[in-house]
Symmetry: C2
Subunit: 368 residues, 2 copies
DNA sequence: TTTCTTCTAGAAAACGATTTCGATTTCTTT
DNA sequence: AAAGAAATCGAAATCGTTTTCTAGAAGAAA
């Protein structure tokens, strides 16, 4: 083990290949990377001709084209993006602003954006704002410098949206919290419907006392979820019981706390709609600690359909939030805007749906 | 719910603020975004003077500076990055190549890189290669176009490294698979030691029959883990039993399969070192299906310390892979290289450590 | 052969910043 | 008051590409 360690830590100064490469370039009489001008000189043509070859223009004869292409290949020429961007006014870059990077919730969104961008030959600049709107505004200012052709913002603050609208840069909002008045292009999910469906599902199983966790968050998606929950109860002719609507800031810990409180109620619920999957994990932990079995003694429904819900024990029934599509849709819309096209559907809402697994069953008879 | 839907789907054509903004700009007699030249004209100074103000140069008098700053503020001027990049030869961008985006394993690496880059005022360009080395090479070619000041590659292929070395661009490798001969700057973790520590921990608890899952993967980290496992058994004077070294490609499914096979052995193991946390999740599932309790009837150790291991039931004892530090260290090294400095420690290895939770206990007496 | 198209190719002007360096102006110093 | 030093500012070149726009060559039609 010690030998291993020594081997690992062997300190060998790394001298970049830069030096090596430069000398190789010198042999070809080129300082550093070749430019279009160098290539043109070597090929015995003019600079615009090389540019035309590079851009696949028609007004270049076949022999000339082939000669230039050969030289380009031989010298491994790649054109300088900065110069190109300067001239064309497009950078080929798109910015994505995320509240956090260490939250796996956003991962599929990122993935979706990356997919679409890659198909379009654009590259993705990633920025985390840490939920601070100052950071957000600061970055949007930075971004306004034409370093990027457009911008996607997840969970944008009001200020960020204003800044964005003022900037004139194409942008699309993901999970926009904003009021209904905002006409900015955005993509969201049917959180209300999700809450409604989750609750209705539990009602159909026969549950009468259903708790909701996650009352604390002021986020729009959270508000809609609880609204959906209430609407479902109402539609079923059941009264709303304040004691069953628990605080919760969408963390595992708050799911745990809320569950403990629910279990101390004179009449505990027979089912819990956890608001999101992280809180559902906390619910599981509390139930396990108290020796209650899921779903026999307590049905649980989550929201989001994070990857780990599949390997929870028992696998969690949850509402699927189409996060990959969120990213793909937003990116596709942004591409249109960048292209100067108009959006006939500027505000898109993607449907959620129930993923039935094994955390729910009808309530036991002696209850209620 | 129908009303809700209608509201969501209301189709309102979005006409970009671009048009609006342009007219506002026209009022100020500016076409589109102001340039340094515009600002200079308005402020009644020369272009270089504005540039000097922007760059905080000393040779500008206070009144001039203040006047220019006022105009800049008033017109919301931000300089064009492309022009700046062209002139300075630096783009302020760093590339990060990841094998996949939908794998939460890489998330903390990404986070670490982003942190360091943000502190340095650089921005992060993210690219996924989908484990395809052609993609990797293609992107590295793309990246050579000076669009980026440096590049970080996670799990680089041999070809990618060659390409990188040829490019002359500063780069740092993360989780380099390569042979020991490669002198390229890289950051890795002590996988061998992790395997050794995990196995030793089980041995100390009294286990004699310890299985390992994950023999299939050719990745260097996988090879080191099993090597560490064998070394620990060897150090304890125990024989290596081939039937306890299971295939496994580091997916949940393969952990599940391997466990089922292990349980069918005439003498099943009393502990399983799962190779990684995903496989450990599969182990849990198989054990649960067979009605075996963790840790009473089977101890389990994972590797990586993914977030969900904490909420597994019981919480998983695992080897922590310092992924955030992996990202931070690599980014810090790259910054040095970009700065033209030399690395006195070009090949860094970060330590792993055991995170003791509740998935292990001494074996039951009647076993072995 | 002449004239009119159609192809090719290149000269020159952008794109918007930074940098160099020389020309003023202002301030010290004697 | 004159000379030298220091501070301030701007003209022009530059980064590497793309985009006119024009000139000449080649081919077609008369």
């Amino acid at each position: 083990m010690i030998a291993q360690q020594l081997c690992y830590n062997r300190s060998e100064t790394f001298r970049g290949e830069q030096a090596q490469h430069k000398s190789m370039a010198r042999r070809h009489n080129i300082d550093g990377r070749p430019t279009i001008a160098q290539i043109a000189r070597i090929a015995g043509v003019s600079v615009p001709t090389v540019s035309k070859v590079l851009n696949g223009r028609a007004d270049v004869s076949l022999p000339t084209r082939e000669k230039v292409e050969r030289i380009i290949e031989e010298y491994g020429f790649v054109r300088n993006r900065a110069a190109r961007a300067l001239r064309k006014g497009k950078t080929g870059l798109v910015d994505l602003l995320l509240p956090r990077l260490d939250d796996e919730y956003y991962l599929p969104i990122l993935e979706g954006v990356a997919q679409v961008l890659r198909e379009a030959g654009l590259r993705l600049v990633l920025t985390a704002t840490d939920y601070k709107s100052e950071e957000e505004v600061r970055w949007i200012t930075t971004v306004t410098d034409h370093s990027t052709d457009g911008i996607l913002v997840v969970l944008p603050s009001e200020r960020a949206i204003e800044q964005l609208e003022r900037s004139g840069l194409p942008f699309v909002l993901i999970h926009n919290q904003g009021g209904l008045q905002a006409m900015a292009p955005s993509v969201r999910i049917t959180s209300w419907e999700g809450g409604f469906v989750a609750t209705t599902y539990l009602l159909r199983l026969g549950h009468q006392r259903i708790a909701y966790i996650g009352k604390t968050s002021p986020a729009r998606d959270a508000i809609e979820r609880i609204a959906g929950y209430r609407a479902a109860l109402d539609a079923a002719g059941l009264p709303l019981r304040p004691e069953l609507e628990c605080d919760g800031d969408f963390t595992e810990a708050s799911g745990y706390q809320a569950t403990l409180r629910l279990l101390e109620l004179p009449e505990p619920p027979t089912a819990i709609f956890a608001g999101n999957d992280r809180q559902a994990a906390g619910v599981y932990r509390a139930l396990h600690e108290r020796g209650l079995a899921v779903p026999e003694q307590m049905s649980v429904v989550g929201f989001d359909n994070l990857p780990y819900t599949e390997i929870m024990n028992p696998p969690l029934t949850t509402i699927h939030a189409p996060r990959l599509e969120l990213g793909r849709t937003a990116a596709t819309m942004l591409l249109r805007l960048i292209n100067g096209e108009q959006l006939e559907m500027p505000r898109v809402v993607l449907p959620t749906h129930l993923v039935e697994r094994q955390s729910c069953c009808p309530p036991r008879q002696h209850q209620g």
